[in-house]
Point group: C2
Chain length 321, copies 2
Amino acid sequence: MPAADKPAGSLDELGEFALIEQITADLETSAAVRLGPGDDAAVIRPDGDVVVSTDTLVAGVHFRTDWSLAHEVGQRAVAQSVADLEAMGARPVALVAAFTAPGDLPAAWAKQCAQGMRLEAARSRSVLVGGDVTSGRDITITVTVLGDLQGRPPVIRGGARPGDVVAVCGRLGWSAAGLAVLRRGFRSPRAVVEAYKVPEVPYGQGVIAATAGATAMIDISDGLLADLGHVARASGVRVDLERERFTVPEPIQAVAAATGADPWSFLLGGGEDHGLVATFPDGAHLPADWHRIGGIAEGEPEVLIDGGLWSGESGWSHFGR
Amino acid sequence: MPAADKPAGSLDELGEFALIEQITADLETSAAVRLGPGDDAAVIRPDGDVVVSTDTLVAGVHFRTDWSLAHEVGQRAVAQSVADLEAMGARPVALVAAFTAPGDLPAAWAKQCAQGMRLEAARSRSVLVGGDVTSGRDITITVTVLGDLQGRPPVIRGGARPGDVVAVCGRLGWSAAGLAVLRRGFRSPRAVVEAYKVPEVPYGQGVIAATAGATAMIDISDGLLADLGHVARASGVRVDLERERFTVPEPIQAVAAATGADPWSFLLGGGEDHGLVATFPDGAHLPADWHRIGGIAEGEPEVLIDGGLWSGESGWSHFGR
């Protein structure tokens, strides 16, 4: 019921239950989904052990509504959560989304965000099965994703062994370069700006890597060096990267030239592209789309590049930056 | 590294990774948990189909830090999520928590909140297996809980049939009465204030009701009438409640007398105690702790009490109140 204090087209005017109804209308489903939204909880039928991960995006912290469209924010929320499942070698199955927003937010923003979630879920071959909608000052989106292992063990961070090969799949530094561009008030090169707004997660490659015998895997969310640092510590090994095995993509060269930044800071320190980095036994046939960037050796748990420590920026931590 | 702009003892001073390390130290586990926190995702081994639900608490909307202690907020966040699983007849197994807070929040608050989550998880016989920590203006906690059905079908909202008995398990109106007290600046009767701060979910009763043949079930989060309204609509039946089958608990009588409120508005309209209401076939033996409050009949999908519509306040909706 419209009222003076409920702006036209706002969430307040639409109401919680109508919003949920509109978001969940004609929702995609799959064979693994036994019960979708509309009850107290959803029910899925997994194949093997279940993998679960949760991730949050907060307006003003992780995204800006003047930089990203609503559907892009929804896509990114799903992509970053699903990337964690890919990194375990799991098959994404279902996701639930908790959406918090101020009552004066245009309902269209919430609906387009949900559309983006559905689109990205479809890309990852998972489906939205439930959620929660609450009011709060800042738009805050938490996506929890469930997947299954289809009888395989998970690929953990601690499985890398000396002699293994280190390989990456997906983009490095594109998102960070896009953010650097936006922070300077520019909108191009468009390829990196788009990469920042919606990361291009290499869906399906987690299962492919697991099947190919990956010994350890992680998704690159904090930056290649920071995330390989997690693998090094969990596995008790040293990671040796070789700079000559990397190529600096053209749009990152362009951003570096325009901003005066070191392009390697994007490649090695930039997170949020949510590509995958994994280790494989020496001699294993690397799957297509995976590129060797180094190897694993005995030694202190650290990440070296051409035998030395990288001195540039590496990784991101919430709080205390 | 302490700095002038990082208040002593704050999240900013402690840092994201140290906080996670402290929260997850010596974490409880269970046979169903194959991999807990510390990797990209957690792994559980469910027994049968998997049930999942997500719920959010926002500071200033769902709780006030001057009313509730940190560990109480953590307990409540877990309790309200697990209640949704109970309502499906599922066994709670594992939960993940997304925690957003401003960097100047005392780290002790976050740690005590996590302690509360662990305590309440233990009460519900589930364990914390992972999460996400991010910065944001308002404390926002999203708990997603996973359970399993151990070979049973889920108990959905739409299964009530004419002739069924309606029964309730757990408290009605205590939380709403507690909130009414706090809103007037009082701290007693303490029983209802405590009930508002940490709902007493009847853990294990969902599985018991399912095993006893419950045909429909829902957790009482919006208020008894509102939630039974969901059952009535999903099942296409009328719900007939009998007022004489209810008793008004002494502390609710006290709150009603002190505030001038109708005690029935607490019992019938008050949500957030997260008790369970279910329907059972006529003649079924109701489990202990379940109390008959009415029956199911053919008719318009509505909830009547003593044959009439209740005219008091019923239920809660985010946005557009």
